[in-house]
Structure formats: C-alpha cells, structure tokens
C-alpha cells in the first residue's frame, strides 16, 4: 500500500465525487426549491452522454471529433430536453405529493431508456478520450491521466460557478427567495413559473455536463443513469436535501469513501482476518459502504449533515 497509490485513488475518488456533485446540485436545487423529486435526473445524464458521444463520433454540421463541440451539443441537448420534459409533463406535478412525482418520473426513466435504446442500439456506445487529453500529467511527481484531471478541474469550476450564480446574482437571489417562500416571490411580480423552468434547465444542463464528461471513461449505454442516480440520492440525503453546500461536501465524501473503500478495504481486511473470508467479505462491504455511511448519518441526523434552515 504505497503512498502513490493512495494519492492516485484519492484523486479518483475526488473525480467521482465531482461528477456526483454535478448531478446532486441539479437534483437538490430542484428538490429544495420546487419541492419536486426527479428520478429521471439520471436519464438526463444518460442523454447528455449520448448527445455528446453522438456529436463526437458523427459529422454534425461538418464538425467531427471536436470535443468542445461535442460538449456544447451534450450540454445544449440535455438543457433543451430537460426544459421540454419540464414543460410537457412535470410542471403538472409540482402540486402533487411526492408519491406521484416518484411514479411519473419512474415512468419517464423507462421511456427515456427505451428511446436511447431505439436510437443508439442496446449495446454500449463508445466515445474516445480526446487526443490532447489522452496523456498523463505529473502532479508532485505522480503521473495522473490528464482527462481525469480535467474532470476534477471542470467540476470544481462548475461548482464555483453555481455557487456564485446562487449567492451573488439577481437570479440566484430570486432562486433563494423562491426556496423560502415561492408564493411571496410570485406576489412580488416575479414570474415564478419561468424561474422554475430555468432552474430545471440548469439542473439538466449540469447533469448533461456530468454525462458528457463521464462518457469517455465509462461506457455510454441505456440505463447508465440509474446506478449513478441512486448514489446521487445517497449524496443529497446525506448532505441534507436542498442544500448545495451539503451536496458538495457529501458528494466528495461519498466519492472518496466509495473509491478508497473498493481499493483498500479488501487489502485491510486480509491483514486482519483469514484470506478467503476477506476476499469474500471485502468487496461486499466495500459496495455497501456508502449506504452504511448514509444509514449512520441519518440515524443520528435525520435531516442530513447540512440541514437547510428556512426561516
């Protein structure tokens, strides 16, 4: 267990955490402000990945193989798709209870997965890492893939941008005001419906960013959104539903614990107990680790680590 391996795995965990944050930010905003549960968030992530991979692999407007253009298509595609879904189906559900929202978005997942399967086929759809980012960079003498490093950097930048947007701009102020009292904000003459749509679009675009960045390192396939959606739910519940800050810290904690656990838990266990037992139990416990974390957090703080205070 060398220090170098530990640092590389920490960075991997950070990279996973950043992806989780991009998804969690949209989900927690939509939940915190519109009181809406969107299980189809993972499908927007999947569609973002598909859009980007498609634009990267095919010639669109004569442009092919440009990562920047693919990123643009991925983000714009998931943004538009998110807004369309919100306007067509979801806005009627804001006043309903959580059960209806869960069911309708559960139905949406089934539909979107089949749409992806219909258009792009059932097998994995690959997107290569762009040439310029396919090498490694040296961090304090440790070689680390530059693409993964880019994910961390972009993710942190987007996190900073979201923070500034929410805390420092007029739109952000309205969003925060809407979270505390939507009716009052509406009464003051703000178009709360438009605000909701914008917010939903923002969340979808963030999911699209996560999807397009995950595309080259994971395989793009129908149903790729659900596993990460469930981990994202763990993140926002652990962090405290509705809290961006909570989502950020919880995403990093979950990302690092999951990655480190999968790598080191079997090693640590085998030094403590018999080898055969450790080999059997290690991966089992490692894959359950984040759920255990969540259970422990909720057992002591049912509101999550950073509960939102509405006053």
């Amino acid at each position: 267990m060398s220090l170098e391996l530990l640092i590389v795995q920490l960075l991997n965990g950070l990279q996973y955490g950043v992806l989780l944050f991009l998804l969690a930010a949209g989900l927690t905003l939509v939940f915190g402000i519109m009181n809406f549960v969107n299980l189809a968030h993972g499908s927007l992530y999947m569609m973002g990945a598909y859009f980007a991979a498609w634009a990267y692999n095919n010639s669109v407007f004569g442009i092919q193989g440009s990562f920047v253009f693919a990123a643009f298509v991925g983000i714009a595609g998931s943004l538009v798709l998110g807004i369309v879904i919100e306007r067509v189906v979801l806005f009627t559900l804001y006043e309903r209870d959580h059960l209806d929202q869960v069911l309708a978005t559960f139905g949406l997942i089934l539909v979107l997965n089949e749409v992806a399967r219909f258009i792009w086929g059932p097998s994995s759809y690959y997107m290569e890492v762009p040439d310029k980012l396919s090498g490694t960079i040296s961090l304090f003498g440790i070689a680390y893939p530059s693409y993964r490093f880019m994910i961390i950097a972009v993710g942190l930048l987007v996190a900073l941008g979201t923070y500034l947007l929410i805390q420092k701009t007029r739109i952000g102020m309205l969003i925060r005001a809407g979270a505390s009292n939507a009716t009052m904000v509406g009464a003051l003459g703000v178009n709360i419906k438009l605000l909701n749509t914008l917010l939903f679009g923002l969340g979808s675009a963030l999911a699209g960013v996560a999807g397009l960045m995950a595309g080259p390192i994971l395989s793009v396939q129908p149903g790729m959104g659900e596993p990460i959606l469930i981990v994202t739910l763990v993140v926002i519940v652990t962090g405290g539903i509705g809290s961006i800050r909570g989502a950020f810290y919880a995403a990093l904690i979950v990302g690092v614990i999951d990655t480190i656990g999968r790598v080191f838990l079997p090693i640590v266990l085998s030094s403590l107990v018999e080898k055969s037992l450790a080999q059997a139990a290690g991966p089992a416990i490692a894959s359950m680790l984040i759920y255990l974390l969540m259970a422990v957090v909720l057992a002591f703080k049912p509101q999550g680590l950073f509960p939102v205070k509405h006053g």
Binding site: L103, A104, F106, V115, R117, I230, V237, A295
Partner: protein, 337 residues
C-alpha cells in the same frame, strides 16, 4: 358500514369475483390446454401478494417505501441458500425466511422510520440497494448470476412441485392475507396507522406512541413481501439478485397505486392489470403492422413507462379506487335526499 347492504358494494363483489376467477383459472387453463396460464398467474399472484403487503404502509400508513424488493429477496434467498446446503424442508425454509425477515425488517425499520417524506423514500431505496449489492457479492451463492434451486421446497402436506398445488397455495395465502388485513385495517391498530397518515402530530398529541405503530406496520408489510419472495423462489426455482433491483420496488408501488392505494384490494387488481399489460405489450402480435409491432415488442418498456405516466397524470384514484369512490358518492347522495 352496515353489514346487510354489503353485498352490492364493490368492496365485496370485486374481491369475491376476482378471487373466484383466480380459483377457477387452473380449470380453464386445463380445458383450454394452456398450462402457461397457471405459471403466469402464479407469478401475478405473487406480486399481488407483495403489493398487498406494501400497501399496508403505503396506502394506510402514508409511508412510501421504495425498497420493498429487498424483502422479496430475503424470502427468495432463504429458500435458495438453505436448498443449496441440502435442507429441503419447506417449513424450515418458511420459518427461516420469516425469521430473518422479522430481524432485518425490525432493524431497518428502526432506522428508516426516524425519517419521513422524501428522505424516507430515499433511505428505503438505499437499504434495498445495500441488500442487492450484498447478494451480488455472495460469490459462493452465485453472485451476479443468481442461485439455481434444484427442487421446490418440500412441504410435508403439500406437494409444491405440482404447478397446480403451488398455484392454490399462493392463492390461499393471498386470500388469507387479504382477509387478515381487512380485520387489521378495521382494528384499533389499523385506525392508529391511518391516523398517523392523516396527521402524525395530532396522533402524538393524543398520546399514541406512533413510532411503535409504524414499526409494527412496517414489519408486517415486510413479512408479507418475504412470503411472496418465498413463493417466487419456489415458482422460478431460482433466487436472483434481479428480484431485488430497485425497479422491482418501483413496480410494486405502481401496482399498489394502479389499483387504488387507499383501498385494500386495489393492489391485487393493480398487480393483475400491470402484469397482464406487461405480458400483452411484450408479446403484442396481431399482425396488422408487422414493422411497428416489431419495434413495440422490442421497446415495450417505453409503452409501460407512458402507461405509468398517463396513469399518474389522469387516473390517480386507481381502478378499484374509482369503483369504491363512486359507490361512496352514491351513498352520500342517498343520505342527502
């Protein structure tokens, strides 16, 4: 409600007709020479049983558990793992399944019931995922691939290896659980549970230890799902992690809502409808537009999704719930005039 007027109420005749129909189905399938129906409806009744169990806390307790597939898995794996070790006695299987079920449900219930609303939905989902990853990592018992069960549980009095006997065993359990739940909902316990759904704070103020009531409700509802899992493993002779994936939990909720979740028999109707529609859509083949049908057969899940969305948007009461509500309105009108 007055006992004498009960007969013409959908609350009475719908369950009676459905259960009678289910009881006669094997006869029909024998006459029609379609043994496939017995297996199909065995599966449907198993899910009806599970949805019935879930509905106890979902429809009457207002607790949206997105993780009841976990308990299907507990039941199925109890059969699978014991059979794997050469223990074939079905009563032992059942006792082990329910025993493990009561322990896990109590432990998990104690934690998840500390939360409410959205958090409750998500934490139940997380626990089900935990169970899923746990069985996937059990490499000795098949892991990802699942565990084949050589023979069905041998119950001393019943020969479950016979499809028809298994069918009737499931039917008897379904009807039994339904009757027990009918009494349970009308009892003091059921009243408290329903009170918690409409206003928990008021129930607390009235001095009810609501947590205990919710926990007992949660455990009972989980145990019914464990029973369903026991039958599922016996029907398919297979215990698979796929019984515990989160979509199954979602399916169970859809079934409960589809039939009418504030009603007792609704989930059974919902399960029948959902699985029959599923069967229909996945093998749709009237031969009108071969190309369209080919696409639909491949992508029937999309239609299933649309079906769920439309149902939530437009038909919230559920099928059976609609009948029951219509009757209630009629009664109210009569009372007014």
């Amino acid at each position: 409600m007055d006992k004498a007027t009960n007969w013409s109420s959908p609350r009475f005749y719908v369950p009676a007709i459905v259960l009678l129909g289910l009881a006669l189905l094997p006869v029909y399938s024998m006459v029609a020479g379609q043994p496939f129906y017995v297996t199909l409806f065995s599966r449907i009744m198993i899910f009806a049983l599970a949805a019935l169990g879930l509905n106890l806390i979902l429809g009457y307790g207002g607790l949206v558990s997105f993780g009841h597939a976990l308990y299907l898995g507990v039941g199925a794996y109890a059969v699978g793992i014991l059979s794997f070790h050469g223990i074939t006695n079905g009563w032992v299987h059942l006792a082990a399944a329910l025993g493990i079920g009561i322990v896990t449900a109590s432990l998990i219930g104690t934690i998840v019931l500390r939360t409410s609303g959205m958090t409750f939905i998500m934490i139940t989902l997380a626990f089900a995922q935990m169970g899923y990853f746990f069985v996937v990592s059990l490499k000795a018992y098949g892991g990802d691939d699942g565990l084949t069960i050589d023979n069905r549980s041998s119950m001393v009095l019943f020969d479950l290896s016979n499809h028809t006997v298994l069918y009737y065993a499931i039917l008897v359990c379904l009807a039994g659980v339904f009757l027990v739940f009918t009494r349970l909902i009308g009892s003091r316990f059921g009243m408290v549970l329903r009170g918690v759904k409409s206003n928990e704070r008021r129930m607390l103020a009235l001095g009810f230890p609501t947590f205990r009531y919710k926990l007992v409700g949660y455990v009972i509802s989980a145990q019914v799902c464990v029973l369903a899992g026991f039958f599922l493993a016996n029907l398919t002779k297979f215990a698979s992690p796929s019984y515990m994936v989160w979509q199954v939990s979602g399916d169970l909720i859809v079934m409960a809502v589809l039939g009418g979740m504030g009603t007792l028999f609704g989930p059974v109707i919902g399960a029948i409808l959902y699985l029959v529609v599923e069967e229909f859509l996945s093998s749709l083949n009237p031969g009108w537009f071969p190309k369209v049908e080919d696409v639909l057969n491949k992508h029937w899940l999309a239609l299933m999704g649309l079906f769920v969305i439309l149902m939530v948007l437009g038909f919230r009461k559920g099928l059976y719930g609609y009948l029951v509500e219509r009757e209630q309105k009629k009664l109210e009108k009569r009372a007014q005039s």
